[in-house]
């Protein structure tokens, strides 16, 4: 029993990490309907930039701020040079463009900062702490906390600021948003910049856990089933979906894996998401069904 709890808790906590990546997708999808495959590359780019800056002896806070600024600038550039010219194109074309974008970002990140594996120490010990019979890594707890803080901050941002309001308005009804005088391109640029910020947080946490290196960009593949489960346009869905996927994936690997030779983690999330979709085609929290490109 306690082992099951261990697995479950472990799964939920790793699910938090998935949610972090999924969040970046949701921000962009909600406002512009683009499924941004480059989110993973942005995670890599953010983490690599940050870690390289610290390795160049910049203080933690300064590195963080500089990286933040770079991510925001990157978001703006993407809006200006990729999305804007592609407006009114089919969503599959936009998706392919973000795939191309991911090449560019990955290439640029490694060209700038090299291809070596960097260790990233955020000063949070990754050792288990006992809570009764359950052992939880301190790092996981901190990660969960950071994720929760970020979701809270985003929620607050959306609920209380006028930019957040604009953001929600665009997500709700684009034509009405234009009619009341909102500039779509501004909102999109903000969405991309925010996605960059989320990528930075995800990159730091994932990077601290895995080392900062190329395969960080593949975490995007973990976010897709989360999105399907939670709905592409729901922040709450990204969180709940992440937790669910994490828990299901880990318990499946531990309990079913041994009977089928292991390695179920690669696909179980997708198959669960697929099964779920057949019952609820718009995800847990999704607002509307997406029509084909």
């Amino acid at each position: 029993m306690s082992f099951f709890v261990d697995v479950l808790v472990g799964g939920l906590l790793s699910g938090v990490m998935y949610s972090l990546v999924a969040l970046g997708f949701v921000l962009i999808y909600k406002t512009s309907g683009v499924l941004n495959f480059a989110q993973g590359a942005m995670v890599l780019f953010a983490a690599l930039t940050f870690v390289s800056l610290t390795e160049h002896k910049l203080p933690f806070a300064v590195s963080l701020l500089v990286t933040l600024a770079i991510m925001v600038a990157l978001g703006w550039l993407i809006e200006r040079f990729v999305l804007k010219p592609l407006v009114n194109q089919s969503s599959i074309t936009l998706f392919m463009a973000t795939l191309g974008l991911s090449y560019v970002i990955e290439g640029a990140a490694q060209l700038l900062w090299g291809t070596e594996v960097h260790g990233l120490d955020l000063g949070i010990p990754d050792t288990p702490m006992q809570f009764g019979s359950v052992a939880i890594s301190e790092f996981d707890l901190v990660a969960a906390l950071i994720a929760a803080t970020m979701v809270a901050a985003l929620t607050l941002f959306f609920r209380t600021t006028r930019t957040g309001l604009a953001f929600r308005a665009v997500a709700d009804d684009q034509l009405a948003a234009i009619a009341v005088g909102l500039r779509l391109s501004h909102v999109w640029a903000i969405a991309w910049a925010l996605a960059g910020v989320v990528a930075l947080v995800a990159g730091l946490l994932w990077g601290a856990r895995l080392g900062v290196q190329f395969s960080l960009s593949t975490v995007v593949l973990k976010a897709l089933p989360v999105l399907v489960l939670g709905g592409f346009d729901s922040i709450a869905g990204a969180i709940v979906g992440g937790l669910l996927i994490g828990a299901i994936e880990k318990s499946a690997e531990v309990y079913i894996g041994p009977f089928v030779g292991g390695g179920t983690e690669g696909w179980i999330a997708y198959v669960v998401a697929l099964g779920f979709l057949l019952v609820r085609p718009a995800g847990l929290f999704g607002q509307r069904e997406l029509v084909r490109a």
Binding site: S14, G114, D121, R209, L210, T218, K250, G261, G262, G263
Partner: protein, 451 residues
Amino acid sequence: MFSSSYKGRLMPVLLASAALALGGAIALPSFAAPDRGQEYFPLQSYRVGPYAAGGTGFFGGFIDYMNLINMRDGGVNGVKLTWNECETEYEVERGVECYERMKTQGNPGPAAMNPLSVGIAYALLDRSTSDKIPLITINHGRTDTTDGAVFPYIFPLLLNPWSEASAMVNYVAQRDGGLDKLRGRKIVVLYHGSPYGRETIPIFALLSQKYGFEVTEIEVPHPGNQQQSQWLQIQRIAPEFVILRGWGVMNPVALKTAQQVGFPADHIIGNIWSNSEEDVRPAGAAAVGYIALTDHPSGTEFPVVQEIIKTVYGANKGNLDDKSRIGSGYHTLGIINGILNVEALRIAQQHFGDKALSGEQVQWGFDHLDLDDKRIAELGATGLLPPIHVTCADHEGAGAVKFQQWDGQRWVTKTGWIQADRKLLRPLIEASANKYAAEHHITPRNCAKTS
């Protein structure tokens, strides 16, 4: 309102650059073509992608050593070494393309291929045999290619995967006081989800049967940045040892995840591709105490490494951007790979004369590669690699390893050379090789005659 200023001008620019690119590709030579009379080593390297750290270290070391030979000795018996690189990203298709592109270059053609990828090596198995170019898979590759009678052109030098597995089991036994102590022990093998990782599945099963320990083999999907459930499973099994057959990012992640579930690092034993500084540094404190097997200990104290630092890096011709990586595990392996390639060439030259040789001729050199302690000392590599004696039938030639432990700063060697149980393995290797020969209609050459 969305019309974008540069959109309209894009197509002409694209077309013009396409024309330019096409023209450029045709007009420019595809490589700085190797000069006539030089010994050509095509490098199917990878400096990008998930395994870039391994690639840059290994190929850096290889190139550094070749540079050393050229700068210090003016080449091998007057024959300069030359090389160029083709990026594979560790992907098979790209490896094949590189091979096809490079195999026709050089005069008299490539000396040997060193792709450092099991997947690529598999795809090149019959190609390089039919093209008569030696294919070197140092410390990796397909185990049964050790049988040089069936695979004359394939050389899993120093240590094939089965030897490696056997040596690891032997080390565990030695720690506990003998092979008979293994009975009833629990060992988990955590392997990389690739042909390389799977290569040893049957051999661990065999060894566990023979020595009576319990083995659980768990796969980590490529590239290996997700291991939590595997380690939870390990936690539940609670084995005495975890044998880590990792590669690239899988290694630090394994160590970090082990720490996360509270599995002690000094009971994790890494294999030959989990033993470099690049594998442990990113894991930080989680790696302290971790043990790994090696036949290419890291360090800068070896004379040959010192000479590379002095001659090559002194002249600013070093290949590693990050000087702190000089003497790291991947780098020394690259240097060793350089030594073996160069020595094979040297031995072949004794047979064919001091000139640039073809792949077919260099194969003879590899087939007769024999470095004893004395020769290794002359090369300034004492302690860096075990003695190696390759024969027509045995393309591994060594099968000895040391074990080292990470103290947080550097690797500390814990043992002398420990041998694999090659007698046990040999019949299996031959059986497997013969099966391959039968399937592919190969008539094995008669090694009794040639050697």
